[in-house]
Each structure stands twice: as C-alpha cells, then as structure tokens.
Symmetry: C2
Subunit: 284 residues, 2 copies
Amino acid sequence: MLEKEAGLAAGQDDAREDVYHRDNKRERAGQPSSLSNSNSTTADPALTRAKNCSDNNVRGVGRAPYVIRVLIALKLKGIEYEFVEEVVGKKSELLLKSNPVHKKIPVLLHHGKPICESLVIVQYIDEVWSSGAPVILPVDPYTRAVHRFWAQFVDDKLPPGIRTLRGMGGDGDKDQAVEQLSAALQLLEEAFVKLSQGKNYFGGDSVGYLDVALVSHVGWVKAAEKIAGVSILDKAKFPNLVAWAHRLCAHPAVADAIPHADKFVEFSLKYGSFTKPTINSGAK
Amino acid sequence: MLEKEAGLAAGQDDAREDVYHRDNKRERAGQPSSLSNSNSTTADPALTRAKNCSDNNVRGVGRAPYVIRVLIALKLKGIEYEFVEEVVGKKSELLLKSNPVHKKIPVLLHHGKPICESLVIVQYIDEVWSSGAPVILPVDPYTRAVHRFWAQFVDDKLPPGIRTLRGMGGDGDKDQAVEQLSAALQLLEEAFVKLSQGKNYFGGDSVGYLDVALVSHVGWVKAAEKIAGVSILDKAKFPNLVAWAHRLCAHPAVADAIPHADKFVEFSLKYGSFTKPTINSGAK
C-alpha cells in the first residue's frame, strides 16, 4: 500500500497542508536551510568515504515527519546532504520533475537520481551507505520483517488521529482520535518491550528502522496534545515508550532533526489547524 | 503506511469480504488445499537446500491478491510450503494468534514464526532464501527503491477502483473507477517500458518484486471488467502491460497461483458483489 504521505504535498491546499517546518540549529542561527549540512554525528573516521559523497539533496518541508525520518537516516549514516526547503503551497519545478507520480515530499536526489517515499528512501540510504556506517535495518531477516511490519503500522495508525486532533478533519471526533492513538501506542509499548529486550531502542543497542519511522511522528503527537488539550503519550500508560522517546530525541542524529513541539503548534496554527491550542497541564 | 489489505481479513464481514479463492491444480483435482505443495518450478538442483526447508506454512484465502503474491514468491524460490485455506468469515485460532494486530491474511509461518503483510513477506522470502535461488528484489539499490515505490503505488491505486467495479463500495462511481484505474495503468505502462528495457519483465530478464506485486492484482482487474462490463486492461491502450500480463501469467511460478478470471467473478458474486456480471465483449 502506498505510504500515506497524504497532505504532505507542497502546493495542494495551503490552509490544510499537513506539513511541518524545520527548526534545526542552522535555521535558528538564521542560515538558509539550503546550505550543506555537516552534522555533529560524522566524527567516525570509518565514515569518511561515505561522507565524501556530497551529492545528496533532500527536498522537503522540515516539519513533515516523512522528511524528518530521511534526515535522521542520513545523520545516522553520517552522510553530508543539502536540505532544500520546499515552499508550502508552491511545488517547485524540481519537485514536480523528481516525483511526477505523487508530487510529494520528501524526495532524495542522489547524484541527481530521485528516490521518493520516505520508508523507501530510508531503506535506500541504508543499502547504499552500508559499508562502515551503522546499519538501520536489522541484519536478521525476521527482525527486519518485524520492523517493516511495525513501521507500516505506525504510518497507518498515527497520522489520522494526529490530523483529527489538529482540527484537520478525519473520520472521528477528538475522543475517538485519542482512543485510536492510545490503542496504537499500547501496541507499540508492548512491541518495544519485545524488540528492545531491555536495551535503549527498538533496534536494541542502536537506532533501528522502526526507531526512525516512529520517532519522526513524536513531535506531532506532542503538538497534537497541546493543540487539542489532551494527554496521549502518557508516562503512566506507556512508561517504556515515553522513556524511549525522551532518550531517542536526545540522540545526536535525532535532536537536530526534530523541532520542539511548540514549533509544530505554531506551524499548525499558521497552516491549517481549525482549533486554538489549549495548553493543558496534562499534556506532555 | 500500512499496506491496505483491507477487506482481506477472514471473518469480518462475509458478504463484503474482498477475498479470493484459489483454483490451482490441487484444488481442481479435488485435493484439500492444506496439502504440501510441490510445485513444478523446483527442479533446479541449486535449490535443493532451500527446498529442504518444509516448515513453511502460508495461511490465507487463495484468491486474495496479497496471498497470491506470497505463493508466487515461494514458487519463484522453489520453496516447498503448506497452504492452509482460511475459511471466509471465520478467523482461525492460528490466524488470530499469528497476526493479533491486524487479524488479516496472509501470514507466513516459517519455523512457527509468523510474518505478516504481503510485501513484508515477499521481502522476507527473498532475504531468507537468497543463496542459490533467483533474486526477487533487484540487486541494485536504486532499482530496488524504484520497485518498492511502484509496488506501493500498485497497492494504493488498484484495489479501490477494483472494489468499486465489483460493487463493493468506494468513493466514486463506475466511470470514475475506470478512469482512476486507467490513469494508474497508464503510469505502469510507462514504468514498464523504462524498467524492463525491452526485456520480458519489470525485473528485466527475470521476474522481480514489482512483477510479483502487480501480477497478483491482474486476476481481479479482469474479473472487475467482467462484473462491471467495462474494459480496463486494454491492449490498444496498454500494449506493453497487456503483453507483460499474458507472458507473466504463463510463467510456471505464476500460472498455478492465479485462478482464471471467471473464478474471481464466481467468488465475487458469492461473497459480496452487489452487481450482476455483464459479460461485455469489450472486456478482456
């Protein structure tokens, strides 16, 4: 099934677009976001060869979870890249040319060749930069299949509820969205216990494919809590998942790619939330 | 995004289920479908090691495209397997236990360990039986990414139109469904020309991942034509795709897994088509 990067297309409907802006260190420093990114995770000498490939161009909107996961994958691998921010509401010529089928972000241009669909891109990154770089997909085929299964689950179950809580429409009301998200997080809490086996990540000792897929939604889950005045990612209900999110968001390859929840709220208000945020003390 | 094997769950709604029955040689001979399958593609001595793994159990309903692709992948690899037909409308205990999250077919049980979601299963099969067996995923990472992209496209774009033409509901009417399906097939026609490079399959000389993903829907496209009295997979419009489908459906690993379109029509009438089939001379 096509990954639902629905609403992430640049240019379809400005007021409703489910795109996020990026707030990384470069942007905070006032630098244009199209500058080449030399991130802090590239110190490993073993990655020198991979780093030398600078012809990597990511087109997207920095708050989109599907863009975030591509950036995290590149940072995990220690790959230099240029990030080009698409203007919300205006599809660039290069985007239209690079992804003529869906006309959506993210697109990775590697030596000028476009790769589309975020989970396809993450797998591509893992396969192309396999030598001397950390692996993202688990090596064991069964564990890999389990990660792929849950990554699909994440993209199926989380975005609809988040959109509803942001006031972006959807099938159900706020209570139903909270219920659906909680049910999904409960399954992910249990999956984490099984997959991590007492270690830090879904991938065990290292950040894996499912870690990348899920953490890219965390910022918007937190923003949805603030916007709708509800509690979802509750430490009492999902202690392992909350601890995982806290830990992973502090990881050097992730910290720079995921903005603070307030930035998502700002963006949501600007580009399509129909409700005013209610900063609820119960919201995380 | 979670692969939409929606409506393929055994047991949710008998009258509406979008499941297909299998009509392979074994069934035609009146044998129970749970017998071990020794298919005709396993003659290659190089596959002896792989063949010896007989602890492969596929649970599904034989006319489901998502089941068909798992069987094709196993046959391509020359892997012996046991196919257990799920009873439409009754989820087996083993299915519920094997896929507790989605409770859907297909499930591959390999040495008792369940793998769910058809495209995840196909990749698992390709990775586990990699030695001495034909490859399914292209070896080149970029080509692999392109196949993954189009496989997602196939599962996103074809099932909704097919369901509408079967009278199973959907967003649009018959004309819209034909239009949507034709638009998708036009893109796939163009993709075939690019990817096959004048050879037989999307995978070039050999059957690849996208071949497996797409051909599993061909039977239902033809059935939808008959049920709705329309022409979709039209040789004049899509000459390369029609020739590809004809060629691939005759491939030994595929011929046994895909029933004749009439069998899909029969199933559709029994389990949920709201319209009577109109056998249109224009339908292929």
